[in-house]
Each structure stands twice: as C-alpha cells, then as structure tokens.
Symmetry: C2
Subunit: 411 residues, 2 copies
C-alpha cells in the first residue's frame, strides 16, 4: 500500500541535523513529499532553534521534545536519526520496534553486537532500515558506478577511498560546541568514519549482493595533530593542551572481499591537508581517480605516458555519457552537489512504497561494523579480523533487493 | 686513503644496465671519476652491445665476460650490480668477500636470511655496501627531505608512497626480452619493488638512525590485469593467455615504526594507469603530496578550503628555498631529473673516500627485506610480520653514519 504524504520525525539537531532540517527536510515538505511531524534534540536550545527555523519557513509546528522516546510513541512513518554516533544504532532499533522506519545518518558502530541487533530487529519486525550514506549519491561516485555497470573499466580489482578532512578545529572546539567527536577522539582509536568511502565502493563491488567483505587489517599512526594544533591555536594553557588523544592521526585499513578485490581506506582528520575522499576505482580496462578527477582508459590513454597531468580533470568529458539514472531524473540540468537530496529522496521513496531501501540494513551493519573491527585490529597490532556475514549467506543469492539505484545488472 | 680514479665493474647489461652504462657510467668516465674496467652479462649479445657502446664513445675496452665471478677476481674498487632481482644480494656478498665495494640496483629480497648475510658479510669484511636507490635523490624527494629537516612540516606522522607503474607490456613480453619480471609475476605474490618509495621515506623518518620499522601487514588483490591484457593485445592463443599469475594486481602494505609513524605503500603495476610514485609526507604543520605536486602548510593554506585544486602544482614555488645541498651542488641551474647521476656519484664518492655510504648495508637489508616480509604476510592472510632490526640495536645510537646527504641534523 503506497503512502501519500509521509509523517517524519527528525531526531538530532546539531550542526548536521539543523543543516538537514533546513536544506533537505523543509524542501521535501515544500515539495509535498513529507510532513515534519516531530523534532527532537537532547538540548532545549537546539529544539528551539529548529522550531524557529520551521516557523520562519511557514512549516506547521511539529511535536517538539528533548526525549527521543517521546518521538517514537507518535504515529510516524519514518524517523531520521542525526544524533551523536554512539546513539544511532540504539535509536534505530527502538524505532523499528515501534514500527517506525528509521533512516540513520553516516557514522560507525561501537561493536559488532549492536550491528547484529540492528539486523535481527529489522528481520523480526519486518521494518526496513536505511543508512543515509549521502556519498553513495555523489556525482562522481554515481558516474563511476555507471561506468562500472556498463563495463568501461573491465573487471574491478581494487578500490580506494578516504575521509581526508581536517577536523582539528571541530574536535578542539568540541566542548563549547557540544560535539560528540571530541570524546571519541580522546577515548577511541579506530577508523571512526568509514561509510563515506565504503558506501560507494560497496555498491560498485556488489557487497551483500554477490560479494562480501571477508576480513580486514588496520593500523594507526601516533596522535600528534590535535595536540600541536591546540597548543598553536589556543595556547599551552588550554584545557586540552595536555590531553592524550587516543585517536591516531592516520588510520590505514585494508579489506579483502570474497570476489578477490582489495579495498583500502584511510582516515585522515587531524593533520593539515585539503579535503578529499580519494575515491578510486580500478579495473583491468581502466579506472577513475577522484584525487585528480581523472579517467584512465586502456587504448584511449597511453600506458607508457609518464606525465599523468595530461589526464587531470578529464572526468567531466565522460560525465554526460555516463550519467546515472537518478542524476538524470533529478538534476536534468546538471548542477550543484545534491547528495543529501538524493539519499533522503531514496529513503522517503522506499518508505512510501514499502520497499527495501537501496542501502539496507545489511549494508548498514556491514559498513558500520568496520569501525568496531578496525578498533579491534589496531588494538591487536594490525591482526586480521573477520568481517561478519550479516546476511547469513543470503548475499550469494539475494532475492529481496529492490530494483533500485544500485543494481549492477543491465536490463 | 683517498683513491684517485676508481676501477669499476658493471655486472648486468639488460635494459637498465645498458641505460646506466650509456647515461651514467660513461659520463663519469668522461668526468675522470672512474675507469670502466669490466662489463658482464649472462648473455653474450648484451656484452657485445656494451662493448660497442663503449667503443663508440671512445672508452678504453674493458675486460668483458659472461661470468660475473671472473669480474670479482679482478683488482677493482667497486662493482655495480644491475642484474635480475634474485641475483643482487648473492653477487653483492661475493663482491664484499672479494674485497670489492658493491653498489646494488633497486629491487627486493627473496628472504630475510639473505638480508642478514648481506649485513654480516659487510660487518665481517669491513667492506661497505650501498643500495643504489635513485629515488632517494629525486628532486621532490630531496625537497621534501629538506623541508622536513628544517621543520616546515612539524612532527612527521605519516608517509605514503607507491610504485604505480603500468608494466603490463614489459611483463607480458618478458620471454622475448629475457626480463626477470615475467617469472616473478608468475610465481610470487608480494610487494616486489618497495625501495623506490621506502627509500626516500626511510631517510625522512630516520630509519636505522634513531628510528626503525617495527612490523607490517600486507594484502593482495586478485590478479586479473595481465590476463586481460594478454588476451586483448596478443590474443587468446598467446602462450601466456592461460597462465595463472600469482602476483596480485595491487599490493597494499602498512608499516609501523618505533617512532609511532605509519607508512603505507602500494604496488600497482598490472592495471592501466598513469605513472606515479605517490610520494606523500605528512606532519603536524604541513605536508607534501606528489600526486598533485602540492605543498600544504598550516597558517599559509586554508584548513577549511574544500577545493583542493587551489594548491595543485604549487610545489615549485618552494623548490628554490628548500633546495637540497646535492641539488645545489650538481644542478645549479635546476633542470632534468638527475637521480641516477646523483646516486651513482654518492656511491663513487663513498668508495673514493672509504666512508660509509649514505644508503648503507643496514638500509639495504631493511628496505629489501620488505619484499620477503610482505610475501609472508600475504600468505598468512594479512597477519602482522615483524621487521628485523638488522642493526642489532645500533639504530638508537649510530656513530658510523657519514655526515652525508641524508643527515637530519642541522649544523
């Protein structure tokens, strides 16, 4: 039974939550896709800020609370969970138990057990769950997906990605901004944010749909970036100047897949650098290299050419021909980076149609578990750690996958 | 006692050996630094080609043989070993036993035992040994070294590099060209060529001089690149069309150092791509990124800037100020990539002066052992493998290091 207008609750109104409310949920309300039925944050002032935002845009006043459990008591179709990392999975599980379809923002899991519980709750309740991993809908990520689907790169052998984002300001100002990253960087050491890169790669490699991630190893550098930044910018008398940060500046993780492919991902958030996701896809006939926005194709480009600058920024030449369906449908004139719109649209469409979402509970569990598994591998001196098969064998012959955005089969 | 003109033998006259003879050894002969006293290759025609080359340039005819043991019987000051990878260490050991100072071209070791034997032979005979790793003398590598030495990047935390070089033509034509890579790619699976990246990184991190590599993990992708290339270029009836190549297309290796630094290196030689060594140095105050030839400095560049293209190819702006001494001395007007000249000059200078070379036997053993250690880690499913301390503790307090090209101490 197709629902008409979805009743949606938004849990978590920090930086990301507020941004999603303003630039994604309000436009979907204006489009007529959703009602914003509830908003929630632990902090009263954030709730007030959210209400003000909605009022200014003429959105009817929603139920507002500082207790997410109150949200889950309402008759809602969906909740979007934009809270601190450590509360994502727990709230999603409670939502499914309450019969509400959860969409979870990007983040990693704290242990493998909560990933299993997520999967089992979804299987038991019959309520799907979507990871709102926006980078799966990145323009270049979707272009590369389309190229792989149409065989342009031959057989895919290797993928690479990273969350290469200088967050020293954010982490070092975490106390005044009430940001969850601060405590995570003090206490933990792991690939704490893997899904931006694992997501698009997993879709390209057909992970959970004919392929799976088998095991990984992870290692950490020392942690010096935050200390040096705090002393430099805030002075040696700053409260955090002598803090020992457990989180290594660079985390290097390698993942082996059952199809024989290798994935390498890097977390790089506390040393000075320019932003990149370093999204790289390599096949026997060619590849895409986000770092220089280059496409290299066998026969088209010269394998003996030593000056790689000749292909820098040539990807745009291929963008029109290899435009993904969703990009065609929602951005007919090309344009700005609409990842958030696309991933939330896919979520709301799935809720509306009652279908399995394009990034489902098995994807959420597998991708988020990487965080917990790297923590273990790092603690064990880089020892290989197995990645659970959350589908319990179904990945070899999935029948429940919606004919959606990431089907690798050409009709 | 300083020698005047060195008597040098060249063992190995394949592609690389011939190139070194023509463009490096003959110029050093013309400069008056060396005599080319002997040349040698297993293959008679290569020896003939070498003799012809020398004759054309007016170089006195050297002793010529197909048996390197004949070369080692001569009264030579030095031999340069430019043979197949698997013979490098053995010939170097025999040379030292014969009282001849060996220079070994780039390559990896086949087991840890031969690395120990190399070290112990040098210690016992008192004859030094140099690894002729030319990339240590790369223009950008030396610039980055100078930047690190002068503290521009703060504390170094992470380094990255790769041998990213499409060798599909070379390997698939290995039989007719009598190239040793072919058999290596059929039989082995490892980081088979690590020293181009490990070399410059080790010098920057002070490996064997206050720091050391502790352990590594390594994983391999499947091997599909050569098969697809051979079928595509030579046809499915080619002799090697059905060959199973053990060598994975991508080898991803992570190394932890005693100083807490992380090194990540990639071997990427059998998939289509543009050449790069991906040399990357990251500190708490800045870094160098070879892939886009960029320098990023704290305070100078904007940590919140999301468009990394703004710093692409800005490294040249720093090249003059951070020019390394050897570059100043031998390339006063800047110019072409003179790595081979610089590394051979450093070798001949060390032989002449009887000093420990800037890339010594401990460096050679540590860097070359990476190949054997990755082979083990890959075979064990990515298990961590310890890297031997070939200095037996001397790395904490070296007193035998020449005041050479890679001293990190500022006078």
């Amino acid at each position: 039974m197709k629902k008409e207008k979805l009743k949606v609750g938004a849990i978590g109104l920090g930086n990301r939550g507020t941004s999603i409310l303003k630039y994604t949920l309000i436009p979907f309300y204006e489009e007529g896709m959703i009602e914003i039925s509830a908003i929630c944050d632990n902090y009263e002032d954030r709730v007030e800020r959210g209400l003000k935002e909605l009022e200014e845009k003429g959105v009817p006043k929603p139920f507002a609370t500082t207790d997410y459990r109150e949200v889950l008591k309402l008759d809602l179709d969906a909740v979007v969970i934009i809270t601190s990392w450590e509360t994502h999975v727990g709230i999603a599980i409670e939502a499914m138990k309450a019969g509400i379809y959860p969409g979870i923002e990007a983040g990693g899991a704290y242990n493998v057990e909560e990933c299993w519980e997520l999967v089992e709750t979804s299987e038991k309740t019959g309520i799907p769950c979507m990871l709102l991993e926006n980078c799966c809908y990145g323009r270049r990520e979707l272009m590369a997906f389309e190229m792989v689907k149409r065989g342009l790169f031959g057989e895919i052998v290797y993928c690479q990605g990273g969350y290469l984002h200088d967050l020293r300001y954010e982490v070092s100002h975490g106390e005044e901004n009430r940001h969850y990253r601060l405590k995570n960087y003090i206490h933990r050491n792991c690939e704490n944010y893997p899904t931006h890169e694992i997501g698009p790669i997993a879709k390209i490699l057909g992970i959970n749909d004919g392929n799976r991630m088998l095991y990984l190893t992870s290692m950490s550098s020392k942690a010096r970036g935050l200390h040096d930044y705090i002393v430099d910018r805030k002075g040696k008398d700053d409260k955090y100047a002598d803090t020992v940060f457990n989180q290594g500046d660079i985390i290097s993780t390698t993942i082996k897949c059952s199809g024989g492919e290798l994935i390498h991902i890097t977390l790089d958030t506390t040393l000075p650098r320019a932003y990149s996701r370093d999204f790289t896809i390599r096949g026997t006939k060619g590849g895409y290299f986000e770092e220089t926005d280059s496409v290299f194709l066998d026969h088209t480009h010269d394998e003996f050419e030593l000056d790689r600058r000749k292909i820098w920024e040539n990807a745009e030449e291929y963008a029109e021909e290899y435009k993904h369906t969703v990009w065609k449908k929602y951005f007919p004139k090309g344009g700005h980076d609409g990842m958030d719109e696309l991933v939330y649209r896919a979520f709301f469409e799935s809720v509306k149609n009652g279908t399995n979402p394009p990034i489902d509970v098995y994807d959420a569990a597998a991708w988020m578990s990487i965080t917990a598994l790297t923590e273990k591998s790092i603690a064990l001196g880089g020892a290989p750690v197995e990645i659970p098969d959350f589908t319990k064998g179904k990945w070899m012959n999935r029948t429940d996958i919606a004919d959606g955005d990431f089907s690798l089969k050409i009709k």
